[in-house]
Amino acid sequence: MPDNDIDVVPDDVDDEWSLSRRKAVSAAGAMGAAALAGCSDSTDDGSEASDPLADRDTLRVGVLAPLPSNNPIGASIANGAKLAADQINANDGLDGTELEVIVKDTEEAPQTGRTRYGELIRDENVDVTVGVFTSEVLLAIMDDIAGSKVPHITTGAATPEASAKVNEEYDTYKYHFRAGPINAHHLGENLVDFLDAKIDEIGWDSVAVLVEDYAWTEPVSEVLNDQLADTGVEVAMTQRYPAGTEDFNPIYNEVENSGADAAYLAMAHTGTPAVIQWAQQQRPFEFAGIHVPMQLPSYYDAVNGACAYGVTQNSATPQAAVTDTTVPFADDYNEAYGSYPVYTGYISYDAVNQYADVVSESGDVGGNAVVSGLEDSSYTGTVGTLEYYGRDDEFAHDVKYDEELVWPVFQQWQPDGEGSGTQEVIFPDDLATADYQTPPWI
């Protein structure tokens, strides 16, 4: 049952809705959320006279994350956002206006995501929403984002279908931005760029492309099909295997039969059984690509070292100073929450900071102002410099993929000789901390 019985929304008045929402903020607002978010100390606002932002004691940031208490990806979204808010608040907020973070659990399920998004809008009266892991959940709430007209910054879903909507129906969907990861099309390009740069050093002649059949990988597959061969590597086989695959034996047998030197991957949901089976069975091919679970800093211990010698693309790691703020953020996060963040943590942290930057700049928290503010913004965060493609770009409102802006790293898990392992950056070269190592059984 909701925390309050106030009839926040008039039954029939659609246009006045956002107005009434604002009026209701102070009444309906603080009750349920503070306990959940557990962050803000309420200090008095010493506000400047910048129009609407100055009217606010608090700005409310809604966060959508899967199982924030035990899924590292979800926890990083929630904690990254909270840490950003805490640091801003510790620094006198946005000219005195505090950020308040309200976290809701999407359970990684589209419909639950929709329900929780509705709660953030209706009950919590948030001013912006951040987060969302998996393209499935994001696509389910796209129409609701349009309906609520509350800006949303995605920090954990890659499907370009979302940006396509922004491009096609700008006025409806303009409230959506993606701070990261780079969209799935660019993820594919990133894979090509990596191989292009490193193929000679690593020395693979042929690769088997293994891609899990989820929405986010479709553009990845397309790009790999079109461009991978241009790098000079032979594509020995290509397989989109079904969602929910648990048994990789048949697939690995095929990879072996194809004679590929390496499996080149795009895996998120199915990554762990894939890497465990690869390592335990000591399959005679190498293992690299986008492997979301392998991005987790605690992953080596979680899988008993099965990820050793596996390579994955990543937004940032605690070891790589992508920007000046990357390592300090990772350390602060570790201090606050007892573990290092995964990529969604960096992105969510950046997203909240960028939002704060934009709002603080314009002094206006209204949806339109935030949208145009973000469109014009160039903000250097922990994963690079965040700029968004314009409304006419096919990837409208997606973060720009560019060597000078956001340029993911590739890291390899390497055993540290003491029973554990470290995420060593092997690409790009200016950030590299180690050379690529071939698995010893090959």
Partner: protein, 287 residues
């Protein structure tokens, strides 16, 4: 030719695992006439029993295996004493309760060990080439374990006093009581054995695929298919059923499309139910 050899090697290995997965289920279905939808949960308990004892508590692997099997056996006992025995005359209630239980166990695992799959130690590591296809020693070990268990169970059921009592209870619970068999005790023993066997299956599956909270789902469906195809209450039938489905699945994977591998056992199950509900080797359900 190489293809055919590879097909046989892969099918045989897979079928051994399937027989292991289904055998505990067969025992319960055959003896108690109970559709134990918590079979997958027992598999989960076995796999995560090993995970917790080895990876979390740091016990030696061998001890971990024993702990996993024991945990699954105890889980079987708890299921029987706590749920099944109360509802022996209400098969639908049993189905619902075991289904809810298995969901609860899945969630418990999810909430204690996380959604990410975890590695389970292997029986043996390394691999070798056989007939032009890669075979891991772990798969070989599972195959051997499968047959050792099938043999041992067969001997136990047919040549020991308790084993015969299990058979007797499966054919006529009242008849068993008439000759002085305590059918509650026998049922309990059956559930413990079936649980422990599911535990072994869980470890085998986990060591081969990694364990995840949904590890038990596919095996549950697989067990249905195998048992229904082989015939209810027949261990021999289940072994044959496991091999039929194993071969069918590898055939589909190798020669049709690996995307369809999950559908094959389901389709077989439905066909078997509709065409020959008593299975290949089945006897009618005991009274």
């Amino acid at each position: 030719m190489a293809n055919i050899l590879q097909f046989f090697v892969q099918s045989t290995i897979r079928s051994g695992l399937y027989a292991l997965v289904a055998i505990g289920f067969t025992l319960i279905f055959g003896v108690g006439g109970v559709l134990n939808l918590a079979h997958g949960a027992s598999i989960l308990v076995g796999a995560y029993g090993v995970y917790f004892s080895v990876s979390v508590l740091g016990l030696p692997t061998a001890v971990g295996f024993l702990a996993g099997v024991a945990a699954a056996g105890v889980f079987g006992a708890i299921l029987y004493l706590g749920l099944i025995e109360q509802f022996t005359t209400e098969p639908i209630m049993v189905m619902i309760l075991t289904l809810v239980t298995s969901i609860a166990v899945e969630l418990l695992v999810l909430n204690t060990a996380g959604a990410q799959p975890v590695a389970i130690p292997q029986f043996a590591s390394g691999n070798f080439s056989l007939a032009g296809t890669n075979v891991q020693f772990n798969q070989l070990a599972i195959f051997v374990i499968s047959w050792v268990i099938i043999g041992a169970l067969f001997a136990f059921i047919n040549y020991t006093r308790t084993g015969k009592a299990i058979l007797a209870v499966s054919m006529s619970e009242k008849g068993a009581s008439l000759v002085g068999i305590d059918s509650h005790r026998i049922n309990l023993i059956t559930w413990v054995i079936a649980g422990a066997l599911a535990g072994v299956a869980g470890i085998a599956l986990g060591s081969q695929l990694a364990a995840s909270p949904v590890l038990g789902r596919t095996p549950l469906v697989l067990s249905f298919s195998i048992v229904v195809l082989g015939g209810i209450g027949s261990i021999r039938g289940s072994v044959v059923g496991a091999y039929l489905i194993g071969f069918l699945e590898v055939f589909v994977i190798q020669f049709v499309s690996s995307d369809l591998s999950g559908i094959a056992p389901l389709v077989v199950l439905v066909l078997a139910l509709l065409v020959k509900p008593e299975g290949l080797f089945g006897r009618e359900l005991a009274e």
